[in-house]
């Protein structure tokens, strides 16, 4: 130990200090170069979308664009809700109750990102083996609650942050 201590001299200290300051400097220059590629202020400004849902009949759905991605707004019939809730959680690759995917008291409204969680394609509605959505790209089947049932997608279709502004308007984001 004492031998090694003797070896550490002023020059070693200066080297280490210079390398450290240099590394911090390089990092400080590289970070802006990397971060400039993240979404800019204009992209972030598109963070919310308001949608009028008054004209959607039960059993029908619409697709709106939010932050460049499609969002499905589906007004489900009571049969569809019952079907979604009858599914056993053990049958789901990504177990999640249908109740946790909708707002309480607004069970008929399913609002979710229309983006397949596999590689980002837009699934087709009323297709697939589970009465829900089917992604044509690599064959993922989603049920009437937008939960993954079969295929390569790892998770359920994502529920974005949204709220009911009033009974006819949903604000996404």
């Amino acid at each position: 130990m004492s031998k090694e201590e003797k070896k550490v001299n002023r020059r070693d200290f200066l080297f280490t200090a210079s390398y450290t300051v240099g590394a911090v400097g390089v990092g400080a220059v590289i970070w802006p170069m990397i971060d400039q590629m993240n979404p800019d202020k204009a992209q972030q400004a598109l963070a919310t979308t308001e949608v009028d849902i008054s004209s959607i009949e039960p059993g029908k759905s619409i697709t709106v664009l939010w932050r460049g991605k499609p969002v499905f707004l589906k007004r489900r019939t009571s049969e569809e809700i019952a079907e979604a809730r009858a599914v056993k959680l053990d049958d789901l690759p990504d177990p999640q109750k249908d109740e946790d995917r909708v707002k309480e008291g607004k069970d008929e409204w399913l609002v979710m990102l229309g983006v397949c969680t596999h590689l980002g394609c837009v699934p087709l509605k009323d297709k697939g083996d589970f009465n829900g959505w089917f992604c044509p790209c690599h064959g993922s089947h989603y049920d009437v609650s937008g939960r993954i049932r079969k295929g390569p997608a790892p998770t359920n279709m994502e529920i974005p942050k949204f709220e009911f502004v009033d009974s006819n308007t949903i604000k996404i984001g």
């Binding site: 990397i34 590629m37 993240n38 979404p39 800019d40 992209q43 697709t63 664009l65 932050r67 460049g68 991605k69 499609p70 969680t117 596999h118 590689l119 980002g120 394609c121 837009v122 992604c135 044509p136 790209c137 690599h138 064959g139 295929g151 390569p152 997608a153 790892p154």
Partner: protein, 419 residues
């Protein structure tokens, strides 16, 4: 470098060459002793250089008319096709040129696999070549995005989403790549910037590739080391240049055939539909040259697993020189490996075919079988066959099989001799 020192003839040339030895370099490239038995599979290096230059020249011209904006890109490509003088020709050369480039590079890579050109002492040439190949795929992918048609948009979406499979940071990386919350204008803009950059990176690597080649010199169909210069070599110019030029002309005829007669056959008609973020085309396929990897990706029923396997399929090639245990380079003298080589060729072609088909039924089964064989070939077949195979006798020199009408076992050295 050349065995004999080059001395410029004129005083002015000598003055310049003493300050920057460009003339020495030129003389080295002209005199460069090349094995005299190189066959036409060896002409693809020159063809690939031609492809790179064609892509750079046509690309620079196209960039003078193209607009990298989500609202304008599609229209600007149509503008090139209809309004710009000879725009149709330049764009068709560029888009078909990408396919020709890959056609040539695949032949070049398989030639290397057959004749063992990746083996010692040429590992670094091989690795630089693979880096070029990776950059080519990146450049081709980004270039395909630029017209901002349906296949551009959804191809970009699928490929960038591959990165979302990375645990924990995947989504942040994808958003960072996009510069937005989906593939959007910022994505198109940066892809254009990188698409313009990458060919020049490739050019730099090509210089290193050739430099690394000129240290040990060319491999050859017999795969044995040769003395340079000797009766086994010829000067690069005019012997190889004229052979390369002839092959290039034949290649250009095929190239022109695509450009003038079937310019869209290698593309996808959906890319003439402007990008629509709300509708995914019914059947997404990448360009043909990426199909084998796409088949590997889709053969795995797990997202992360598929992505890992797809990237492994490329990166396994980097360690190939150390997976191959055979002391003999050329498959000409390797009766067992030679058969596995052709199985690999068929396997990759089959993967390419099923990559273009829907991922279901028999296609999925074939994709899985093909994927398993692909990895077995490199991880099991190459090391094991290298140990167990009884290779044919290799000739003492390139001239010998020519002079004696075949490799005479009595003249051949033993396999375990240092080759």
């Amino acid at each position: 470098m050349s065995e004999h020192e080059y001395v410029p003839k004129s005083k002015a040339a000598k003055w310049f060459n003493d300050r920057l030895p460009l003339l020495t370099l030129g003389a080295h490239l002209t005199d460069y002793p090349t094995p005299k038995n190189l066959n036409y599979w060896w002409t693809f290096g020159g063809i690939l250089t031609f492809c790179l230059i064609t892509q750079i020249v046509t690309g620079i011209v196209l960039a003078m008319h193209y607009v990298a904006h989500a609202d304008l890109a599609f229209a600007s490509v149509e503008h090139i096709m209809r309004d710009v003088n000879y725009g149709w020709l330049i764009r068709y050369i560029h888009s078909n040129g990408a396919s020709m480039f890959f056609l040539a590079v695949y032949i070049h890579i398989f030639r290397s696999l057959f004749y063992g050109s990746y083996k010692s002492p040429r590992e670094v040439i091989w690795i630089i070549g693979l880096m070029i190949y990776l950059l080519m795929m990146a450049a081709a992918f980004m270039g395909y995005v630029l017209p901002w048609g349906q296949m551009s948009f959804w191809g970009a979406t699928v490929i960038t989403n591959l990165f979302s499979a990375i645990p924990l940071v995947g989504d942040s990386i994808t958003t960072w790549l996009w510069g937005a919350y989906s593939v959007d204008n910022p994505t198109l803009n940066r892809f254009f910037s990188l698409h313009y950059l990458i060919p020049f990176l490739i050019l730099g690597l090509v210089v290193l590739h050739i430099w690394a080649l000129h240290v040990p010199g060319n491999n050859n169909p017999v795969g044995i080391d040769i003395k340079k210069p000797s009766k086994d070599t010829v000067p690069f110019h005019p012997y190889i240049t004229i052979k390369d030029a002839f092959a290039l002309l034949v290649f250009m005829i095929i190239f022109a055939g695509f450009v003038f007669f079937t310019p869209n056959v290698l593309g996808h008609s959906d890319n003439y539909i402007p990008a629509n973020p709300l509708v995914t085309p019914a059947h997404i396929v990448p360009e043909w040259y990426l199909l084998p990897f796409y088949a590997i990706l889709r053969s795995v029923p797990d997202k992360l697993g598929g992505v890992i396997l797809m990237f492994s399929a490329i990166f396994i090639l980097f360690v190939l020189p150390w997976l191959d245990t055979s002391k003999v380079r050329s498959a000409v003298f390797r009766p067992i490996y030679r058969q596995f080589f052709w199985i690999l060729v068929i396997d990759v072609l089959m993967l390419g075919y099923v990559g273009a088909m829907p991922a279901e039924g028999i296609y999925l089964v074939l994709a899985r079988v093909g994927t398993i064989y692909y990895f077995l070939h490199f991880i099991v077949v190459m090391p094991v066959v290298g140990y167990l195979e009884k290779t044919d006798p290799i000739p003492m020199s390139i001239s010998e099989p020519v002079l004696t009408g075949g490799a005479e076992p009595s003249l051949a050295r033993k396999v375990n001799d240092k080759v």
